[in-house]
Symmetry: D2
Subunit: 257 residues, 4 copies
């Protein structure tokens, strides 16, 4: 049986979601997608300008087989997020929507309650809803009840590259959530992506760390390998850590006998 | 130019060293080597019994293209390590030798001074010397002077799966060492292997975590991907972490304008 | 000018809040309060039984000069928390109320939104409102707007002794909050209490770690010293950490000159 | 029975050792000692100039009841350390000696083997020997055999304020050492000093963090309280941490019954 990530009615092979922000040139997006194998890419609706010339239109740089995940960045309330989502769908961006509602302009941390309200409305409106939230198991349960397709707790602030700052809380979400868990934001190294996957996370979204690398294509490949490695380790049934040493070679005196 | 690991006069493509200890069955070693692409495998001389039947002889399970790295486990002094190394060479195990001198039977931590003494003798005797040591930049410098081919600081105690417990000290060794640095012992997860490689480690040795996984072949593959991911990230020039958030999508109010 | 903690209209000298739960005997509470100097103690309204005999009534064990902080434990909604708070005030427990609204029975993590709703109602009703919340700077800002007297983010789950699991998020709350910040829950060691105070936390609440120590009176004293030490360090203007060593003794060769 | 620290033939009440380096003015040393209660202070022999005027002579600033702990900073070999120790004793600085042998000028990390050699010689010469070492349980055992009075593993590099970077290794030393363990170097916050004491460390030496604080006298007091708090917690028998929450207040629905 294939190991697939299911979001809404769709199955995906890759567990690495990527984003379109911060690339030095939009020309890097297509080879990055190819190298990373990412099948879902998030894009701020602001960047989608259907009246732009093709090379300026970011959608031009995304192959057809890659699912577009428009996000509601810029929204400060549930209502604004809902409006942005509907505009995106009308503009032909599809049914997937990443809800971002942010009122904290210093650390860009999400407003969980407004996000939940938007999720309720958009799920009823047949969107595939992926909400970006502070790690919180109460909100995770409520998002399930609201009909979201996944829960996307942050690892650390957007673009900080600080990794799984909230690791124990994310573990609790994984252990209790009935929705797929996608760690979004703050993942700055392949090792951090692998760590998230080893914990049982279903997928990770990485944007800044790839886009700002000196070589974004190679970085995309590195994250892809790390996500696969972490997933394989999760499935391979690895032993836990131990406070003691455990010899891997025989230690009885070799020469004394 | 290929990205190779050079030890002594030999170049290697894989940066994952493996070991022969703790497998449920020696039959798992060959497919694990194949899946992981590991080109160097350590074996306790104790396990090498040339008078054994082929299926009991551990060397039977190691393909010819894989370099044998006999280790001196069981040695409690420099002198014993030297004797074991010479027996290994005479037995046809080649010129590579991993020096392990351990007197602490509780945590199996190496005795740096005896290890250094053995390294001096064996390097003069034309061995390719890989010494397993407590992370210590003074010892690392002395091992270079002694003619060692690499320095192998431990991440954490053997078999503990605790990862880079001594991370800052290992970073200092990487930053100052003129020898290749191979993190040996304690690496229990692919994410930890990737982390070591991202720091600039030249290679890692993983035995227990692979051998004790429910599926050692898949675990070997997972570690291989993680080591490659970490190496690629090191080379891709990734940005450092930040205390602040940095937006990846435009955050100016979308709808207000 | 004295260094006081102000909550509502009241000033306190001690920055260590304690609790009445989990003591082997209620007889330990009075000497613990004396040893720790704690001036505020939380009590579950369930434990306050005015019809009980004096030795069974927990209030008997709390000296008059110590401020009672009834909590709403057992509440699963804002409405229930409001009802408990009013019963507590009518029962003579005063105006202070610690809002706890918990629906997650596995990790006992608070429901931030219900807590905020209860805080709005109780603050209008002239309570001194101390709400126990998941660390979240959006909620912290909203609690200020709601008229709360402080914000009480958790360090880690109640009774877990895991300390500042959410440290970076708590630092962000301290840096942005206009309310006093009291770290509540999970503080299991004096060092963890000191660490919270060094970060700029205004006070800490410690219950389980004191009550379950073999010697709760000595533990109370230890936490008191640690809180004072952390506060003094915060005020003493200590230098930050450095990636480099900085000699404290002259290192130029002593004998060479 | 009093809880005393025994070094050589001497008993001490305070478990906070301090140092004379880096103060903005030597006039701060005496009030810092008074505020901190420290009974042992280290001084680089370089700073002891018996021909200097009294206010320039650092010894003038150390009260008679405080034990002088000359250190061998500047030594790069065992032989140099031995010579400095003897000069110190001849100059009237007493029998205590802190051995520092450092050849790594970047991170100021000690050379364990040279330190051990100096310890053997000086212990036979009736010094009270306190050797500053990389955390290493093999060296700790050898220092016991050599007649040292304590072992002083570093927490992190001198003056770095990074705290217990090597925490698990220091715990192993505490668990196995037959000598008192004094954590020296890198302790930058009272919380870190308390943490060391909670682990079972016998004492800590703090210099840079106190001397470079804006208010060194208050900082000395803060460290003193933290050391006492950590020691009391160690003795008070506190519970370990738990992955689960454990309610401190009754959680059965308050109002439902």
């Amino acid at each position: 049986m294939a190991d697939t990530l299911t979001l809404g009615h769709r199955n995906f092979t890759s567990r690495l979601l990527t984003g379109t922000g911060k690339f030095a040139s939009n020309e890097q997006i297509r080879p990055m997608l190819s190298a990373s194998g990412s099948e879902i890419i998030t894009v701020a609706l602001r960047r989608v300008d259907l009246q732009a010339s093709p090379q300026d239109n970011i959608l031009t740089h995304i192959p057809d087989h890659v699912t577009l995940l428009p996000n509601t960045s810029g929204a400060r309330t549930a209502e604004e997020a809902v409006r942005i989502a509907r505009i995106a769908r009308e503009a032909g961006c599809g049914d997937f929507i990443k809800i971002e509602v942010i009122t904290d302009m210093q650390y860009l941390l999400p407003d969980n309650h407004e996000t939940l309200k938007a999720a309720e409305i958009l799920a009823k409106d047949d969107f595939i809803v992926l909400p970006y939230v502070m790690p919180d198991i109460t909100i995770s349960r409520q998002l399930y009840d609201a009909g979201a397709a996944a829960v996307m707790p942050l690892g650390s602030p957007i673009g900080s590259n600080r990794g799984l700052e909230m690791k124990p809380m994310i573990q609790r979400i994984i252990d209790t959530s009935r929705l797929p868990v996608i760690v979004d934001a703050g993942i700055g190294r392949p090792s951090q992506a692998a760590e998230a996957m080893e914990m049982g996370t279903d997928a990770v979204l990485v944007n800044t760390a790839i886009a700002t690398a000196r070589d974004p294509v190679q970085a995309g490949k590195a994250f892809s390998l790390a996500v696969t490695a972490g997933r394989m380790a999760y499935q391979a049934g690895m032993a836990g850590s131990s406070r003691r040493a455990r010899a891997s070679s025989p230690l009885t005196g070799f020469l004394q006998e």
